[in-house]
């Protein structure tokens, strides 16, 4: 009986492949032609390495601002935030409204004067100017390895997704996307990546707005969605409003699906992780460094924050709708194709997760596990007719490609300036470094492809690597904050702090476990002293421990070592740098005015969805 049932579910949940028409393919093809065209058109303007790696610092703020958020609007965001929306509900918006936005305002107002003003060409290079060579090397190497692997993981996810949804070949879809990204970044460098990121930004917006419109209309607007999610919440053992309120149930980890309480959320996600990513990751900071003036560089993250604070509606809502769509009698007959009968086993139109043998996965309690990563793609197939479906899939492809190009342009810059020029071949001609940048684009993409195949064949290796990256990243913001705002911080202090922070993260992860998990990749390998209610809670607290360790060790070691003369720190530290003068600009172009607007909007959104 049990075996027969399992086989039956396998049949039901196994997606049959959606068929595309000539029009859908035509739209995808036209998109390819345009992104390649941008690369070709920009080719003749790439004369120096500064043109290639920093767009000659000549891009206007609105373009760098949109690229700032678009480079990050990769697959992890579009697919991952939809998945979290399906799993956690509107609380997923904390990644934006307590996470990204305050950090983006901070980097624009307080940190950009040093990144842009120091004329550093990369984030690791700023560390070299402010601290010393070894701190730069640690950051450059870990960043280069990380970008290659994260772009590889995202390629792997793309190949798998298009294979599952459309029956495209796994190798074929990865190779085509990689070849196109390679072609346009090779030809037009960072400018080409940035221009295409803006184009991809508009495509993603235009591709997902109709999805949210149709989905909301189908479930009866926000009121209908709340009602349906309310009964789902009760069935899952939470208060009725748990999926539709961001803060109300954050008092205790057990009363919200995220499994985190407000203090861990604000400190771990809001402070350490978000500031660590948005303020120190070269992938995004590079976009601001390409701006045409100091004030444009400072406005870059602030302009980006305006669409960013509205993204939850675009990427989280589809996931929330997916878990309840098609579950009422009033809903239209399901679309022919993939998820026609999925509700029998899945939830809404989210299918169950299948293991390697094609059978539904079950958790410890024996309940089937949903494949949340398919929530947003399933929505596209469910609601989009031929034609619009082509646009939706193009938007999905655009998100994969903008993320990939972001990684590749950041990688080739750090490789060429911070590793090749610094340690392998200093003092060569600019033309040589321009050539190296193009060459690094080729092998960066080659390495990412290799990483994608590693991810495909050894799942555990990727888990270990992602863990290591989490450890490496967590303490970074403490180093930058002390470097920029405390003139006494020294190179030895920064390096010791970073190393101690990474170790602190590893130790904390090693002594803690999320509830219900076995010791191993999830933690507990040094013995289980702390049990967290969820994996996210563990992640947030690991970050807090890493940050605090780095902060304290950097201060102690700095005080014990010889400070650098103040004359060397001008332009690198807050108290020794003249304030950028923004008074000459019209009110709405002043960074501070923009910051006030962005923060008020975010506060309002938090209150509306409290």
């Amino acid at each position: 009986m049990l075996a027969a049932g399992a086989v039956g579910w396998y049949r039901i949940a196994m997606p049959s492949v959606a068929a595309l028409s000539w029009l859908d393919y035509a739209i995808i093809l036209i998109y390819f032609l345009f992104v390649l065209g941008v690369g070709v058109a920009l080719r003749r303007f790439m004369r120096t390495s500064t043109d290639f790696f920093l767009s000659g610092r000549s891009v206007p703020a609105w373009i760098t601002g949109l690229a700032f958020v678009s480079a990050n609007l990769g697959a992890q965001e579009v697919i991952g935030m939809g998945a979290s929306g399906a799993k956690y509900g509107i609380a997923t918006s904390h990644f934006y409204w307590i996470g990204a936005i305050p950090a983006m305002v901070f980097v624009g107002i307080f940190m950009m004067p040093f990144y842009y003003g120091s004329r550093a060409r990369s984030v690791p290079e700023y560390l070299k100017l402010r601290f010393d060579e070894k701190t730069r090397a640690l950051n450059a190497v870990s960043f280069a390895v990380m970008t290659v692997f994260s772009s590889g993981v995202s390629m792997y996810a793309m190949g798998k997704l298009f294979n599952l949804l459309l029956g495209w070949s796994f190798d074929g879809s990865m190779l085509v996307a990689a070849a196109i990204v390679l072609a346009y970044t090779f030809l037009g460098g960072l400018t080409s990546a940035i221009y295409n990121e803006v184009l991809q930004f508009f495509l993603i917006v235009f591709g997902f707005v109709p999805l949210v419109f149709l989905g909301l209309r189908d479930v009866g607007g926000w009121a209908g969605l709340s009602a349906r999610l309310g009964s789902l919440a009760v069935r899952n053992g939470y208060p009725a409003g748990a999926y539709t309120h961001a803060w109300t149930y954050m008092g205790h980890a057990a009363s919200n699906p995220v499994g985190v309480e407000w203090f861990g959320l604000v400190m771990g996600l809001g402070f350490v992780l978000s500031f660590g990513y948005w303020c120190t990751d070269f992938l995004v900071v590079q976009r601001a460094m390409a701006a045409n003036s100091m004030s444009a560089a400072r406005r870059t993250p602030l302009i980006g924050a305006v669409p960013k604070m509205l993204f939850p509606f675009l990427v989280i809502l589809p996931g929330m709708i997916a878990v309840v769509a098609g579950s009422s009698a009033a809903a239209p007959a399901p679309a022919p194709g993939i998820h026609a009968e999925a509700p029998a086993a899945g939830q809404g139109i989210v299918p169950v997760k299948l293991d390697a043998a094609g059978r539904p996965e079950r958790d410890v309690g024996g309940r089937v596990v949903l494949d949340y990563d398919l929530a947003t793609p399933a929505m596209l197939l469910h609601y989009f007719p031929t034609g619009l479906l082509g646009l939706g899939l193009t938007a999905l492809l655009a998100s994969f490609m903008s993320g990939m190009a972001g990684n590749v342009t950041a990688f080739n810059t750090v490789w060429t300036y911070d590793l090749y020029q610094s340690y392998i071949r200093p003092g060569a001609s600019d033309a040589h470094y321009l050539w190296m940048g193009r060459f690094a684009t080729v092998f960066g993409i080659g390495l990412s492809l290799a990483a994608a195949y590693v991810a495909a064949s050894y799942n555990n290796i990727m888990e270990v690597l992602q863990l290591v990256f989490a450890f490496v990243n967590a303490p970074l913001f403490a180093t930058f904050a002390l470097g920029m705002f405390w003139r006494r911080a020294t190179g030895h202090g920064a390096f010791a702090g970073l190393a101690a922070g990474i170790l602190g993260a590893a130790v904390h992860h090693g002594i803690s476990l999320p509830a219900g998990a076995a010791a191993g990749f999830k933690g507990g390998y040094l013995g289980t002293l702390v049990v967290y209610p969820s994996e996210l809670a563990q992640t947030f607290w690991t970050a807090v421990v890493a940050w605090t360790t780095c902060f304290v060790v950097t201060i102690v070691v700095s005080l014990a070592t010889r400070p650098r003369p103040e004359a060397e720190l001008r332009g690198l530290v807050y108290s020794l740098t003249p304030r950028p003068d923004a008074e000459a600009l019209p009110l709405l172009q002043r960074p501070l005015a923009l910051a006030v607007i962005v923060l008020s909007g975010t506060l309002l959104l938090n209150l509306v969805f409290f």
Binding site: I27, I30, L42, T50, Y195, F206, R217, P332, Y383
Partner: protein, 71 residues
């Protein structure tokens, strides 16, 4: 000339949206009233409406680019 000076970004974006918008709107106009195609989109001819919106957006971008090119 700078690394960006030669290409107005509104041209490729406007061009892409104009072409894709026109294709979608044209297909939508031809398939108007086809109940099977639009059963998924709640019986709304999304191709026609959304295609027209994209066409308009693309045309506005191209218009601005053209105006700057002349001035």
């Amino acid at each position: 000339m700078s690394a960006t000076g030669g290409l107005d970004i509104r041209i490729p974006i406007g061009g892409l949206f104009t072409v894709v918008g026109a294709l979608l709107a044209g297909y939508g106009a031809r398939t108007a009233g086809d109940a099977t195609i639009y059963a998924r989109s709640l019986s709304i001819n999304m191709n026609l409406w959304w295609g027209s919106a994209m066409l308009l957006f693309g045309a506005v971008l191209l218009g601005f680019a053209w105006k700057r090119g002349k001035g």
